[in-house]
Symmetry: C2
Subunit: 257 residues, 2 copies
């Protein structure tokens, strides 16, 4: 249990008290989610959205993927990168662990699933605002293209750093009967999606992706105003839509500026 | 996607190129596994072994666990700590990302499940010898005791640092039909366990724990010698056992020195 302590001035002292681990980026996620708005709140099996896992040069080694094609699902361990980078600024000046303020760490958060009004303990949520901003997603492995993994179902922003990839093992990872606490509420709140008649700009895949994203109801949980227009950026398009009851109406699809 | 770069001499420069993330230990696992030998190779639902998740003072806040008791299972994200700490020594002298040798990272590893002879890509395994030595385990939440979580099924060494705890969400995390590649082989290779007649030192729980550990066949995959005695340290005891065919015979149970 010994890690190198970067807060100690001496360079090769191993220290248990201020144990920390430093993670290297092994890959980046590449997909159409250029904006946080619209990213599904959890990875979902049925998502048609493809994400490419592009390895950093040091890790782009075909042998490192040997045997991976036999697995239908993978785990991605990744970094919440846009929301809370300030939380993880660290100072180079020596400081004890206690001197470091737990900036940005709040013991409770407001899960969107509960309408954004009820506070839950951060360890009872998958919120990005956690002591270590690590994300965890199971994804479906679609194919391996040379050094790149193509997966679906990832709830990741384009450019998300990936720190680890593991095979999904159903005999230890799958608990179909798990009790999901407060998260069981509203699981099947899906919207019906109406595209504009005669829409021709989008490919079939892009149409499917955007319809899927809107069906997940990307609006903040506490908003329900049929006159309010929302803008979603995806795959180079800006999609303007409204929501009335259980239907999302796509108003305009433009090429993003 | 900006992280603070500890390899840059200036102290507040944000730099994308050498993006790294630094993790703080939020808790330590406490259980009877004082030695690596005997730790199950994956977390398993049926494991009776209890592990206490003891939070560090900064994170021992009851509110941070609010709502967690509604979840039957949790994810632990933790550090492989004993095997490969040298791999993660870092130098305080400024260096570019490219100057850092990928010490200890091997693109392929030999999973014990395949007898220790066949090499698989590291990202197709749950091996500890990976670029970032992060472990992932789903565990059953037994109870919350003040600031401590008591779980079962953890495949962790006593003292393992924990970096994150998340609720298990069956609708995104459970894929009962996932294909497990080469890992499907030999899943049900369990041993029958014979305890010495008249054993009285152990409590019923300790007896159950040790029987479970031996039933998992902790021997290295390539060994099959009925005369060979193995020693297992668990919960303050040293257990000497042999294996003949599909039966483990406990020979002696002594208090560990």
């Amino acid at each position: 249990m010994y890690f190198f302590c970067i807060f100690d001035k001496k360079s090769v002292i191993l220290c248990q008290i201020c144990a920390k681990m430093e993670l290297k980026v092994i890959a980046y996620a590449r997909n159409g989610h250029s904006d946080k708005f619209g990213i599904p709140r959890q990875s979902r099996e049925e998502s048609p959205i493809e994400t490419r896992i592009v390895f950093e040069p040091e890790f782009a080694i075909p042998e490192a993927l040997r045997g991976i094609e036999g697995f239908s699902h993978l785990w991605l361990i990744w970094g919440f990168s846009e929301n809370n980078s300030k939380q993880h600024l660290i100072s180079t000046k020596p400081a004890s662990n206690k001197d470091l303020p737990p900036i940005g760490f709040s013991p409770t958060v407001r899960p969107p699933r509960l309408g954004g009004n009820t506070r839950m303990g951060v360890f009872a949520t998958r919120s990005p605002f956690r002591p270590n901003p690590i994300g965890l997603s199971s994804v479906r492995l679609l194919r391996v293209e040379k050094n790149t993994l193509v997966v679906s179902g990832a709830d990741l922003l384009d450019g998300t750093p990936i720190y680890d990839i593991k095979p999904y093992l159903s005999f230890s990872d799958s608990h179909a009967d798990a009790q999901n606490g407060y998260a069981d509420a509203h699981i099947d709140d899906r919207l019906h999606v109406e595209m504009p008649a005669g829409e021709t700009k989008l490919t079939e895949q892009e149409k499917r992706d955007i319809a899927y994203i809107l069906s997940q109801d990307p609006r903040p949980g506490y908003q329900d105003d049929p006159d309010r227009a929302y803008k979603l950026d995806y795959a180079g398009y800006t999609v303007t839509f409204t929501v009335d009851g259980k239907t999302a109406y796509v108003q305009i699809i433009e090429t993003s500026k």
